[in-house]
Symmetry: C2
Subunit: 295 residues, 2 copies
Amino acid sequence: MRIVTTTEELREAIRDSSANTVGFVPTMGYLHSGHTTLFDHARKQNDLVVASIFVNPTQFGPNEDFEVYPRDPEGDAAKCRAHGVRLLFMPSVAEVYPDGHATTVTVDHLTTELCGRFRPGHFAGVATVVAKLFCMVGSQRAYFGEKDFQQLAVIRRMARDLNIPTRVIGIPTIREDDGLARSSRNVYLSDEERAVALSLATALRATRAAHRAGERSASALCDLLAAELTRHPTVALQYAELADPESLKLLRGTTLEAGQGARAIIALQLGRTRLIDNAAIDHDDPSFLTTRLGA
Amino acid sequence: MRIVTTTEELREAIRDSSANTVGFVPTMGYLHSGHTTLFDHARKQNDLVVASIFVNPTQFGPNEDFEVYPRDPEGDAAKCRAHGVRLLFMPSVAEVYPDGHATTVTVDHLTTELCGRFRPGHFAGVATVVAKLFCMVGSQRAYFGEKDFQQLAVIRRMARDLNIPTRVIGIPTIREDDGLARSSRNVYLSDEERAVALSLATALRATRAAHRAGERSASALCDLLAAELTRHPTVALQYAELADPESLKLLRGTTLEAGQGARAIIALQLGRTRLIDNAAIDHDDPSFLTTRLGA
């Protein structure tokens, strides 16, 4: 595996590889099995797997955790190597945003609700850096986890709108045995918080069960989701919504139709940690909330 | 020459051409010698010349001339053919902005002054459509006239910031014998207005002469420029500024240094027609304001 730090080296290495198909996995590092699963998918579908590790400052708010975001470049490189990444891009902030950088990519509509309400500017930061990385790498495919479902939808929309010829592929969230979605930020959780964090998966399961039992009112399902999440007094709920999986339009006030793919999406603050999760609640998916490492 | 109307056909035709180098000239049509000169440059430097004709609605303000912008698709196609264009892309508005399109590219700093003050949203429209076209075509080079100098600077910044691997090449403005810059909008001018429109070139010449005579105060040069432009009572001056050629920072209040490439940039309204022009006023360029067809 080769590690490069500049766009020029990156492009040259991709050109020199003579790969017909390139699969790209952009990450912020502190890699876990959610990420390595993306590498595994990319390796199955492409000649060359390129990964990037870049903690992008422009997608963090002023009171968010940019400064303390967990980092482990050596451990990350070993995980990349073990999962078939052949080219790892680790640029500096100055390489990505040189002096005079003045361009921003914004995606309307999909970014106004859900996390967009709580993280102003976040998705502009994400859309801009991912557009840049896509243009740097020029891969046929790029892989993202479904855990940040809004991010996946925004990136898909951005790439399509800007006619970037990279196909955006979403991969199901990898979970712990008890259902907790893997996240680099789980390292922030105390033991007590780790136990309470299970409420995300529990609430998604309860909402899916209510749907299976016949509940078709989106508002009632959202209320159930919220009620399950706020059982614990330490949880500060940010939102609990059902949304259209492509447009992310909120479904409150509507009656669910068969197979529309209604996505339950939630975010909450637990102590100093912000947790998100989501699931399609109207699919007969036997692996619901059970995608584990190697599954 | 082949004419295509969809992104898919465009990409396929470029792939099938097996060209090693592609030169791209995006236009809004109603082609004149300013455009055909761009085709000629592209042909000299590339295996394949691709042009596009698309009157982009998102770069026109609500009170601007989108509806009446002059169009001549058949004449344009003949001019493309005669100047070595082998692939002409003429998409519909729905092809470029399909339902659900939600992404905008904005460039800060360079767009706040000059035309940016008078055309809110214009440069976001330009940056977005050009980013899209660049990603569709994937050319090594793209050619723009220097006549819209701010547009050229914004596109250069956008392509560099988004890491789009297309080199943006500016080509000197083509002029009539009397110095009037060629523009598709010159067709709007009455005979009287056509005579008054000469004041743009006259004012640029006078400002350059003052600089050669030793004037180094940017403010004094701007004032002279404005005074020359407002001799005619029918002229509604929008701005007359000196700016840094890359950052477009206004130079009023500064003392010009040797060889800094100070660009005089002007815009005015003459009846229903908006006219722009610009020139580097501190270069010893013997072809100052004299670049004509075939020159």
